[in-house]
């Protein structure tokens, strides 16, 4: 296991940081959020040109065959600027599921176009009552001739309104919480019978609640083995968790810097408030929280491609717990040290706090991953 970046990773990190610095300041991001669909398609094109969309896609499908650490490097930079383009939805979840579960034909058909930025995916998986249980699936897919008929509801589907296809999980056998009996489908978003209610999320992204009413899907759109999707989903979500932690590491980095800058400049009682030791120590705690979380995240990213299931679980859950704790400390203290200014929508710090809080609240929060870790001690 290596704890330093390779030359390629350094270059990637520099170019992604450069993009955030030049093209993604706070005001630009605010405008992007206000656009239709909640992200900038020109940026997406740029990501394709720079090879960022191709990064984790296998070379035989037009990708670069990068490792999880490579993608983590990119996402850490994205986190520094709270990039809202649908990289998690389309690449980390969508392309990876397709890559992992799809057959050669499906992969050849979709992956190159995803890498080129021409096809967008969204993972329609979480349900209104599923909380953090990845196997809690009520949505049903019933075989009818060469087709499946899908009925059910999906919740908090990020970037659904801009997706060309959903990767949809549905139950083809068994009961609501069973591991067995879940199947993945590639569903064109234009299919009839799909009702979508879209909304902003509190961290500046877009998501939707989706009803599938007797949506008819050809059986050739099944991804992977029938009834066996739980394994694919768990593996891809585990990787997504680590990559969310990488994004969080970038967000924490900026949040700490913003806060330190603020207290160095804000004067009260005739001096910068950063001259008070009590505040210096709190800034130090924030920095430490970021460093520990980031280190553990890269360790998990390095382990995830090669470990067995229980090692993977420990690595991922440890990283997600540490991220949740650190993100909360940094977010809350960041606001507190900014004082009233930290409460305003015009200051960036609150937006970092909100994103960090929401990263904790997706795919299992601190409590969830702490318990999951506790099962393997």
């Amino acid at each position: 296991m290596s704890f330093t970046f390779t030359e390629d990773q350094k270059l990637l990190s520099e170019s992604a940081d450069r993009f955030v610095l030049d093209d993604y300041n706070f005001e630009t991001r605010r405008k992007i959020i206000g656009q239709d669909g909640g992200f900038d398609r020109d940026n997406w094109k740029k990501f394709a040109e720079l090879g960022w969309l191709a990064l984790p896609i296998a070379e035989e499908y037009g990708g670069l065959g990068g490792s999880t650490v490579d993608t983590a490097v990119l996402l850490e930079s994205f986190g520094r600027g709270l990039v809202v383009e649908p990289y998690q939805s389309c690449i980390v979840l969508g392309a990876e599921l397709l890559q992992f579960a799809g057959n050669v034909e499906q992969k050849s058909q979709y992956l190159p176009s995803i890498a080129e930025g021409k096809t967008l995916l969204s993972f329609a998986h979480i349900e209104p009552t599923s909380r953090f249980n990845l196997c809690h699936i009520r949505t049903r897919a019933i075989k009818q001739g060469d087709c499946f008929i899908i009925d059910g509801e999906k919740a908090i589907v990020h970037n659904a309104e801009t997706a060309d296809y959903f990767i949809l999980s549905a139950r083809t056998e068994g009961d609501t919480n069973d591991e067995e009996g879940i199947t993945l489908f590639l569903v064109p978003s234009s299919s009839s019978g799909i009702e979508m209610r879209s909304y902003p999320t509190i961290d500046g992204l877009r998501a939707s609640e989706i009803c599938f009413n007797s949506v008819k899907i050809d059986q050739q759109h099944v991804l992977g083995e029938l009834n066996q999707a739980a394994e694919y989903i768990q593996k891809v979500v585990d990787r997504a968790c680590v990559l969310l932690c990488a994004e969080a590491a970038g967000a924490m980095d900026t949040a700490v810097k913003l806060t330190v800058d603020y207290i160095k400049n804000r004067e009260q009682f005739g001096q910068a408030i950063g001259s008070f030791q009590v505040l210096q120590h709190r800034a130090v705690e924030m920095l430490g929280a970021k460093d520990f979380s980031r280190a553990l995240t890269y360790r998990a990213a390095g382990a995830i491609d090669q470990s067995n299931a229980s090692e993977r679980t420990r690595a991922v859950s440890a990283a997600k717990v540490e991220m949740g704790r650190s993100g909360k400390l940094i977010g809350q203290e960041g606001i507190q040290l900014h004082g009233g200014m930290g409460m305003t929508d015009d200051m960036p710090i609150g937006h970092f706090f909100k994103r960090l809080t929401m990263i904790d609240a997706i795919f299992g929060n601190v409590d969830f991953h702490r318990k999951r870790f506790a099962q393997i001690i």
Binding site: I126, P128, T129, S130, R131, F132, N133, H136, A155, I156, N177, R197, Y199, P200, T201, I202, D203, L205, A207, E209, E267, Q268, F269, I273, V278, L279, K328, Q332, I335, Q336, G339, G340, G342, M343, T344, D345, D346, G350, H351, F353, K354, T357, M358, A361, I362, N365, D367, R370, K371
Partner: protein
């Protein structure tokens, strides 16, 4: 593990008279709070001006508007325990919090330092909620270091001309009056050049500009004062003695800022939500780890309640709130924030959707996810303000260090 009914857990031992009093208050609240207002108060949806005023007018008619005031001004003469029971029952029944700026903030200052004319004019109007007050303390460069404030008042015949900017002015959009700290002298110590003025907001030169906060709401404002005329008779007490009055006011703020009753009501709500949220077929309230976190907060709240009762007793024995009252602000806001953290944890994935309009009056679309979820994340972010306002918790610790420990 089970969830106990409220009647099965008795934390406060009440006398039969106190029980009777509690039942009376409970009945009064139930009769006078509509379901609509109760829901808004409990869920943190926005209460509008009328919601507050209609409740406060009912309190006035009943004679319960100002339990903290001396009887001669319209107070109730209640014991500390009665005051506490009253707070708790109002919160439990979903009554909107009484807006503090008039009745618990400026009124004690007017009583202690104001002229007879000011007492006669303002105090009855505060009881009847005829004025909406706001607080002109903080300025862009003067937050924790309040004494550095620069809004200037220059005496010109029988009135002051005031110029400057106030900020973080809560609910100034509703206010017709502002109690305001202004600089009337640049000589000597900074604290000795400040005066306390009562400013009419409805006049040329006063501009209220909303500040949008991270939860999407606009309850705080910038207030710009440009050649605003304030008659000298609207100065409270002596010129350049305003700092003393301001500190007196902040001391009074701290028992109400503890908000024990409101936190109890929120813990009850948390338990209801945790009973509805399921993971793998088990309610969250039966999850040992989550339950222990609720226990931690309840224990903190019991300790807080005990200290509040002690401070209230001291007050009724004629001892003003000492600097230890700062602990009430620190712990009170920590408890409130702790509850918002557990609420956001409780709702899991449904922390994400954000429809600011859903918290406004007249929004009647279907909620996204469970109805109880929509205001929880905004409230969590909004409530970070609690450890910042009213003298940040760091400043409260400075006060205790200096005044109690003698550093």
């Amino acid at each position: 593990m089970r969830l106990f009914k409220e009647s099965e857990v008795m934390d406060l031992i009440l006398t039969p008279e106190e029980e009777k009093f509690r039942d009376d208050v409970r009945a009064f609240v139930a009769e006078n709070i509509t379901e609509d207002i109760r829901k808004k108060t409990m869920t943190g949806f926005r209460l509008d001006k009328e919601d507050h005023e209609s409740w406060q007018k009912k309190l006035y008619e009943k004679g319960w508007m100002a339990p903290g005031w001396p009887v001669e001004y319209g107070g109730t003469g209640w014991s500390p325990m009665q005051k506490h029971i009253f707070e708790e029952e109002c919160a439990a029944g979903g009554a909107p919090p009484v807006i503090a700026f008039g009745v618990t903030m400026v009124a004690p200052v007017i009583m202690a330092f104001g002229s007879d004319k000011q007492k006669e004019y303002y105090l009855p109007r505060i009881l009847k909620s005829e004025d909406w007050w706001c607080q002109g303390y903080s300025e862009p460069g003067s937050g924790s270091d309040l004494a550095s404030l620069r809004t200037k008042a220059v005496l010109n015949g029988d009135h002051y001309i005031v110029n400057g900017q106030k900020t973080w002015t809560s609910l100034a959009q509703h206010a017709n009056l502002m109690f305001c700290l202004v600089r009337t002298s640049d000589e000597g110590k900074r604290q000795e050049g400040i005066s306390f003025l009562l400013v009419d907001m409805n006049q040329p030169g006063v501009t209220v500009q909303p500040i949008k906060t991270i939860d999407g709401s606009t309850e705080v404002n910038n207030v710009f004062l440009e050649d605003v005329k304030v008659p000298v008779e609207n100065r409270v007490g002596e010129e350049n003695k305003g700092w003393t009055y301001a500190k007196y006011l902040l001391g009074h703020e701290r028992t109400s800022i503890a908000a024990v009753g409101r936190s109890k009501a929120q813990i009850k709500r948390l338990k209801t939500i945790a009973s509805a949220e399921e993971h793998n077929g088990t309610a969250l309230i039966h999850d040992q780890a989550f339950r222990e976190k609720i226990a931690d907060i309840e224990i903190d709240l019991l300790a807080l309640e005990s200290l509040v009762l002690r401070v209230l007793s001291d007050e009724s024995a004629g001892k003003g709130p000492g600097a230890e009252a700062s602990f009430l602000k620190i712990k009170g806001t920590e408890v409130q924030q702790g509850i918002t953290e557990l609420l956001i944890e409780a709702i899991g994935n449904y922390a994400h959707p954000f429809i600011p309009e859903s918290m406004d009056k007249g929004w009647n679309e279907e909620p996204i996810g469970p109805e109880y979820a929509s205001s929880i994340a905004p409230h969590y972010f909004n409530w970070r303000k609690a450890s910042i306002y009213g003298g940040s918790n760091e400043i409260q610790k400075n006060i205790i260090a200096k005044a109690v420990l003698g550093f």
